[in-house]
Amino acid sequence: MTAAPTRSTGRAYAADAVTYTPHGPVRASDPTHVPAIWRLARDVWQSRDMIVRLVRRDVQSRYRQFYLGSVWVVLQPAITIAVFLVLTRTGVLNAGQVPVPYPLFALVGITIWQLFATGVTQGTSSLAAAGPLLIKVNVSKAALVVASLGTALVEFAVRLVFIALVYAAYRIHPSAAGLLGFLVALLPLFALTVALALAQAILGVVVRDVATLVPTVLGLLLFLMPVLYATPRNSAFARVNAWNPLYHLVCGPRDLLVSGHLTNVGGFVWSTVAVLTVLALAGRLFHGAQYKIAERA
């Protein structure tokens, strides 16, 4: 019949020992006082093989059923920009003064925005969608949420290539410092994406309405923020947005890429601090609640 089971030799039993208590699983190797987000990060790291597989699964299965396949990744932002291009050319909408050709400006903005929006949307439904997996297999729930952000990241990478092509078409290029700053400045936005995905994934299991609400709210936010147009200086609109951390986190990286410098350094810094606080809180919520939701999934 089949070969005898292969067993890795010399594996210490005790190293794998875990005690399940009402407070959560306790491992012998666990340090006592570490923040919840750190434990989650360790869970995620230990599940990296699974995350890679899940992302691969999502990407493969997502485009397998479409004739145009991965073309959709760039088609979506292209269509949105085309609409805005028509609106600005015909004078219906005033895009304001932008440092690079308008399509490029809008493309960069919407690419950054969609990393956030797709990530949050998919993160929110990740645990609810994983339903059978949650109640049948002992998987790291944080890893499931992180894996759901994978497609957003892959799509983002493809769109970056598209942006590079558009830059080349206009025969211009961003400064090296701007490009580097752009990539670094994306990190706080991604941290916010992770934080919201973690918190909303939990809420999405308990209160299913959340998953329906999120895309609607995000759609609204996109048009309230100067992602597809430039902010008119000193307008009431600009003053309100100065208090919107999301505005700083999305427009900061965009400005770095298209103009090479941050327009509002202070805003970007305090927004980053706010994000880290939110991330720590979300980590605490997720860590405490993740075991309760297997019963609700």
């Binding site: 875990v18 005690t19 009402p22 699983p25 691969r56 299965s61 998987v139 609640a289 939701i293 609700r296």
Partner: protein
């Protein structure tokens, strides 16, 4: 280092009966877990009940523990707690080693991906590393018998195929403790045999196994000790044979109360005193597989005395499926005691109910009869001339006498 693979101490778990209230409690629990942390709770709120209450046991390394009980007795909940999917509400479980579960195989399969892609995906979900899956890939495919369909999307697989692939992946994970929940009930007889064989292999190589099953023949063969659960309470923990007896005693008690004897509306022929026992005596709680059994009853009829009747004796499983039927013709008397002696009936171990009826010869109408007239259970026999082999199919051929006369 401990020689105990599993130590369960006072494990309790509560669930809520009402869905809306359950959602509300869920929200409250999630919030309180964030602000106050998860804690022990031994108090029940409205509509809550204990799915498991104060379960304690230890499983030594390399030991196989059976868990049996009726539906809803908490077996699967216990397994989910051992697997870390659910946390206990009180008490604790120490799992000393890498745990693998055959709880619901194939969870996480993506229907759009091919079998090959799903092997890697599912393996990763079960915690196998890339190289571990790669090294076991051929064994998994061979076990699932899936070479032909490797590059076909899983949504085109038959359900049996899907389960086979899922099972093959799960059972090839490198593990110290294996949790098995009734998965042996899937697939065809050959695949069931393969699974059983594989579990036996793991067992002899020192894997600790916890097996939840309704198939007493499997429990009997595999388990060193067995835990009987009854409505979340531990009823018995110890010797497997004793545990199975307890379980059957409980089951037939429940079965009797839920499968009350029903007399047919037509009462031209009336039956009474239906009884089944082992022909050789001794076995009061059940009939050992392959041993002779004696089925006896009395009937009386005024209208059909002196005419030929066909007597039908059906053996029915609790599910309502009529397993087997004995028919014999006989010149009826006004009243008579009949004793059937059945030689080596080879009834698959389980609980049976007796349906009995009389019909006119050549017509398929009942002149009278009793449903659920009696109940008995067949116990597995693991040694001797009529050993019950799990995975083998048995043809139930009745070879029996009626009041001492052979029936052709």
């Amino acid at each position: 280092m401990s020689d105990r693979a599993i130590v369960a101490t006072d494990v309790s778990k509560k669930f809520c009966k009402a869905l809306r209230r359950g959602l509300y409690y869920g929200a409250v629990d999630v919030l309180s877990s964030v602000f106050r942390g998860n804690g022990e709770s031994r108090r029940l709120r409205a509509d809550e009940f204990w799915a498991l209450e104060r379960i304690s046991f230890e499983v030594a390394r390399g030991e196989t523990l059976g868990v049996i009980g009726e539906n809803g007795s908490g077996k699967s909940t216990l397994l989910k707690i051992l697997n870390g999917i659910l946390l206990p509400d009180a008490g604790s479980v120490l799992m000393n080693g890498r745990v693998g579960a055959l709880i619901e195989v194939g969870a996480g399969f993506n229907p759009l991906l091919t079998g090959r892609e799903n092997v890697y995906l599912n393996g990763a979900i079960l915690g196998m590393s890339r190289s571990e899956i790669a090294s076991k890939f051929d064994a998994i495919v061979e076990f699932a018998d899936a070479e032909e369909f490797l590059d076909v999307p899983v949504r085109n697989y038959s359900s049996g195929m899907t389960v086979r692939l899922g099972f093959a992946i799960a059972i090839h994970a490198d593990l110290d403790i294996l949790l098995v929940d009734e998965v042996l009930a899937v697939g065809d007889a050959l695949f069931q045999y393969k699974c059983y064989d594989r579990i036996t292999q793991l067992r002899s190589s020192g894997t600790t196994i916890v097996l939840v099953s309704h198939a007493m023949s499997v429990v009997e063969r595999v388990c060193d000790r067995t835990l009987v659960l009854d409505h979340g309470h531990p009823e018995y923990l110890g010797d497997t044979a004793v545990a199975i007896e307890r379980y059957f005693a409980k089951l037939s008690e429940v079965a009797r109360s839920s499968n009350a004897t029903i007399e047919l509306d037509v009462k031209e022929v009336r039956f009474r005193n239906v009884a089944v026992r082992a022909a050789e005596g001794g076995d009061t709680d059940g009939i050992v597989f392959g041993r002779d059994l004696e089925l006896s009853f009395d009937y009386e009829t005024a209208a059909y005395a002196g005419r030929d009747l066909e007597f039908r004796v059906g053996l029915k499983l609790p599910s309502g499926v009529v397993g087997s039927m004995m028919r014999f013709r006989r010149r009826a008397r006004a009243s008579e005691h009949i004793a059937l002696r059945v030689r080596h009936p080879r009834l698959v171990p389980g609980t049976y109910f007796v349906n009995i009826a009389a019909c006119p010869v050549g017509a398929d109408v009942h002149l009278g009869g009793l449903n659920n007239a009696a109940t008995f259970h067949v116990l597995p026999e693991t040694a001797g001339d009529y050993r019950f082999e799990y995975g083998q199919e048995y043809m139930v051929l009745f070879d029996y006498t009626v009041n001492g006369e052979q029936v052709a």
